[in-house]
């Protein structure tokens, strides 16, 4: 598994020269599930794109097991699940999964097993446009795990789904993740979702993005979306401890005490 160190000293978009991310650093230990939480448009996706090597226009460094990511990119298995399913509409479900796999690993049984894991055993030869939005995300989830990732990047992958559909997908994610435990960076603005899934929450401020708070989740695994009461109590506890945390990230006002503590 993979330990990740991310340091973004400065990320500025050249089009409007606005600084998106400044002096942001965090580490993720091997097999850890970390959620990045922050309001829309604070550069969470940008951060994931940097780790996913889709964006190399930044000052800073991403390290994987203590060596530079860009130099070792071929030796790590990294998956990325986007906000949209992003399936190739001209390929069937099976072909979409096969597309990202290495040829010698793409056995039919393995793909069928993946489809079973997301309860799509019958849809292997369907085209994505014939599937519902929730089913397309399940395919995207199966695709993300098809390469047996060591590092999995997820950018609000269950956004804009209704609650039951979303919970079903979160449960799939939990059960598949449990098998191999890849390191996950999960971006969301839904705190309850983050509590359900993660080992640790990282709260981000408004632009330029900084870390304002980290919080460990002590709930035992395996977890399920059925345990709403645990999630609620964890959520309430978080709010009692840090009544300012939500307003902090909603309005972008930083909690100075927190920052000072971290520096000390």
């Amino acid at each position: 598994m993979i330990k990740l160190d991310v340091e973004v000293r400065n990320k500025t978009y050249s089009s409007n020269s606005q600084c998106i991310i400044k002096d942001l650093a965090f580490s993720v230990s091997a097999g850890e599930f970390v959620s990045l939480i922050g309001p829309s448009g604070v550069g969470k996706s940008t951060l994931l794109n940097i780790i996913g090597e889709l964006d190399n226009q930044f000052y800073g460094e991403v390290k994987v097991n203590n060596s530079v990511l860009a130099e070792n990119t071929n030796s790590i298995r990294r998956s990325y699940m986007f906000q949209e399913p992003r399936l190739m509409p001209w390929l069937t479900v099976k072909e979409n999964i096969k597309l990202v796999m290495k040829k010698d690993e793409a056995s039919d049984e393995f793909i069928q097993q993946l489809l079973c894991d997301v309860e799509l055993d019958d849809s292997g030869s369907a085209f994505p446009l014939g599937l519902s939005g929730g089913m397309q995300r399940r395919v995207a989830l199966a695709r993300a795990f098809s390469i047996r990732p060591q590092l999995l990047l997820m950018d609000e992958p269950f956004v804009s789904l209704d609650l039951p559909t979303g919970n079903r997908l979160r449960d799939y994610l939990m059960s598949i993740w449990q098998k191999t435990k890849p390191t996950v960076i999960f971006v969301t603005h839904d705190v309850r979702e983050a509590i359900l899934l993660s080992d640790r929450l990282i709260f981000l401020s408004n632009k330029p993005t900084k870390i304002i708070k980290e919080h460990n989740i002590k709930l035992s695994r395996p977890r399920s979306s059925a345990n709403q009461s645990d999630i609620d109590s964890e959520f309430n506890e978080l709010l009692i401890q840090h009544p300012d945390i939500l307003s902090g990230y909603v309005t972008g006002i930083q909690d100075n005490n927190e920052t000072k503590q971290k520096i000390a």
Binding site: G52, E53, L54, T73, N74, R78, S79, Y80, F82, E84, R86, M88, P89, W90, L91, L99, V100, F127, P128, L129, G130, I147, L153
Partner: protein, 251 residues
């Protein structure tokens, strides 16, 4: 009316049948050598097919059409993708492209024959030069409309360049390739005949020129008929099956 219930195919046949009927009526009432009726033309068609060299000339023309079609499509796609992806190259070549689009076919044909001689190369070259700009314009639109988000999937999952091209990039160009092929075929049919008329001693265009000198209207219509048949067969047995195969994922 059972013919209508069988759907599109019978309607297609019906329109052709009505056309032939009108043609026959017109020929009957005019009763003039300048408009032979469908009966005379079809018996002439049989004569040309069996006793003359219609098949030979038709196949020569088809070869030229095929060769220039694929050359134009390959060159046009290549340049179109480059122009669609690199704005600087695009603006550098844009004026040339406009000129290429609007130069009359006759000019390029004459120039090709003058410069390269009355040979096969000049003939094909003239057709390709006429067609390539149209392909470029279509494919350039396609290259500009490439979905960046799907390309990101290919990058982050580290697909090989070959796979990325075959499975992610080119499929996005399919609609544009089909459009370019459609318009390309119809344009090339027309230009190839002019090319043959002006500088070749075989092919449908050459034969039509000969018949014109003898005012042999029946033979001209016979070749037109043969041509129409080939076009219909190509469309129904080649273009449409390929098109529906490539777009079967659309619902």
């Amino acid at each position: 009316m059972p013919t209508f219930k069988n759907g599109e195919l019978s309607i297609k046949f019906l329109s052709i049948a009505v056309f032939i009927l009108l043609w026959q009526l017109l020929a009957y009432f005019l009763n003039n050598d300048l408009l032979p009726g469908p009966l005379i033309v079809s018996s002439g068609f049989w004569d040309h097919l069996v006793e003359d060299d219609l098949l030979f000339h038709l196949s020569i023309t088809l070869m030229r059409v095929a060769a220039s079609f694929f050359l134009a499509l390959i060159i046009g796609t290549f340049v179109g993708v480059i122009m669609g992806n690199y704005p600087k190259i695009d603006s550098a070549l844009d004026s040339l492209l406009i000129i290429g689009l609007n130069i009359p076919a006759l000019v390029t044909i004459i120039l090709c024959y003058v410069w390269f001689g009355l040979n096969e190369f000049a003939a094909i070259c003239a057709v390709v030069v006429n067609k390539v700009p149209v392909v470029i314009v279509t494919i350039r639109e396609g290259a500009r409309a490439i979905d960046h988000k799907l390309m990101q999937v290919a990058y982050t999952f580290k697909l090989s360049r070959r796979t990325m091209f075959q499975k992610v990039y080119i499929p996005q160009l399919y609609p544009y390739l089909i459009a370019a092929s459609r318009s390309g075929l119809s344009l090339i049919w027309k230009i190839v005949l002019v090319v043959e008329l002006l500088g070749r001693s075989d092919g449908v265009g050459f034969k039509l020129g000969t018949f014109f000198q003898f005012f042999d209207i029946t033979s001209i219509l016979v070749y037109t008929l043969a041509f129409a048949l080939v076009v219909l067969v190509t469309e129904n047995c080649l273009v449409q099956p390929i098109e529906s195969r490539l777009s079967r994922w659309r619902l």
